[in-house]
Amino acid sequence: MTKTLNRPAHPLPIRIMHWIAAPAVICMMLSGWAIYNASPSLPFTFPRWMTLGGWLAGGIAWHISVMWVLFIDGIAYLLYGFASGHFRRDLFPPSPRAVIDNMVAALTGRLGHSLGHYNAVQRLLYAGVIVLICFQVLTGFAIWKPVQLGWLTELLGGYPIARGIHLAAMIGIALFLVVHLTLVVIFPRTLVAMLSGTASEPEEPVP
């Protein structure tokens, strides 16, 4: 436990990249909904007030503007995550056993929460959403440039399938955000930690 106490809950680079990614992901999602509405693949459309850009061209303008922010932030994060050991240390996928144990503990209210130190369920969620966002960027490029990046489009199963994956991954990210934001509301100190980097909570008692 002393180890986690000695380093900030979230190092500064992580906090900066998180707060660039957060509005970028939301802009991408809301503008993506405006694009989706022009030709919905599922039997519903998003209300206009939930979309960004107002109509198809506006949605695309937002989407192909903000995508560069997300792309550059994402590349920086991946480089940092591998180089600093953040992925290995904090996000490396846990064993299925640990996930089940943590899940049971969480549901029975016995799961501790230590800032900056992720349990198995958190690791699965955070690693999962990073993989989903990487998929979004790849499928996004595949459907934006199905000729010039045709190799990528074919690798992802061709244009219609890549477009379907792009939609499915969006739903995955939306579900993550619901869980993520709910937990932030329940544990507001996690928001403080992602802003200030310091753990303002009393640490878990050392066993």
């Binding site: 022009a38 198809l56 503007s65 219609p160």
Partner: protein, 255 residues
């Protein structure tokens, strides 16, 4: 080309109704706005039709995207081709108007030429049919996201542009249509081997709804760049825009 669709139309809000809000938005700094989640609801009003700073930034980013797309473009990257059996049936009609509004070819139709072209004599359909032709079965991808596979035959645009002595170093090729439509493409895309002046669809001369008597088929760009019912072609160095481009569709829209 794109279908008139409620969700695609510009919002049914007048400038006057939203001007107070827009003025408020433009008084605030772009940067703080971009970082503030709370103002996202205000940003949803930015749809490329206003004079706000955010819309100006979006237009500037789209010019940047145009340059990126031109940089990614290679004439040797060919669009995937399919067997004839893969053609989508029924093939979906698409234009900025409904199908019943399709116009027949005027009886005095000629393909007019203008701009940086040395031989500007108009072309008849017979003369066009005498040029060498190519057939392709390619995927037509609409800016809305849906796609379908079709078969087109026609004169490669590079063959035609060379034949009429167009300035192949010019920046833009502009297409004007007798149904009120227009679009423009960059010269590099115009010279791509799969860019054709299509005269046939599914092995038959173009019907009016498929763009008679001649249409652009350019599988390296989104559907709305594939102008139908062409009446005039112009080669120019002055940005010509187009029907949808002027309203905010990304100009390059390359695939």
């Amino acid at each position: 080309m794109s279908r008139a669709h409620d969700l695609r139309r510009k919002p049914a809000v007048t400038m006057d109704e939203i001007r107070p809000e827009l003025n408020r938005i433009s008084r605030r700094g772009l940067f703080s706005r971009a970082l503030s989640l709370g103002s996202l609801t205000l940003l949803t009003g930015c749809d490329l039709s206003t004079h706000s700073g955010v819309d100006a930034a979006l237009w500037a980013m789209m010019r940047f995207d145009d340059r990126v797309q031109a940089g990614l473009f290679s004439r040797s990257h060919l669009a995937k081709t399919y067997p004839v059996s893969a053609v989508t049936k029924p093939f979906r009609f698409n234009a900025y108007y409904e199908e019943w509004q399709v116009r027949e070819t005027p009886s005095d139709w000629r393909l007019e030429l203008s701009g940086l072209i040395s031989d500007k004599a108009p072309w008849t359909i017979e003369k066009l049919r005498a040029l060498p032709r190519e057939t392709q079965v390619t995927r037509h991808i609409c800016i809305e996201g849906w796609s379908q596979i079709g078969q087109w035959s026609g004169v490669p645009l590079h063959t035609f542009l060379q034949r009429v002595g167009a300035d192949l170093k010019a920046q833009y090729v502009y297409f004007k249509c007798f149904d009120g439509y227009s679009t423009s493409i960059d010269m590099q895309s115009a010279l791509h081997p799969q860019t054709i002046l299509a005269l046939e669809f599914l092995g038959k001369p173009l019907a009016p709804e498929w763009g008679a008597p001649v249409r652009l088929r350019i599988p390296t760009k989104l559907g709305f760049k594939n102008a139908k019912n062409i009446s005039a072609i112009s080669v120019t160095n002055t940005y010509p825009g187009g029907y949808w481009e002027d309203q905010g569709y990304n100009w390059f829209s390359g695939s």
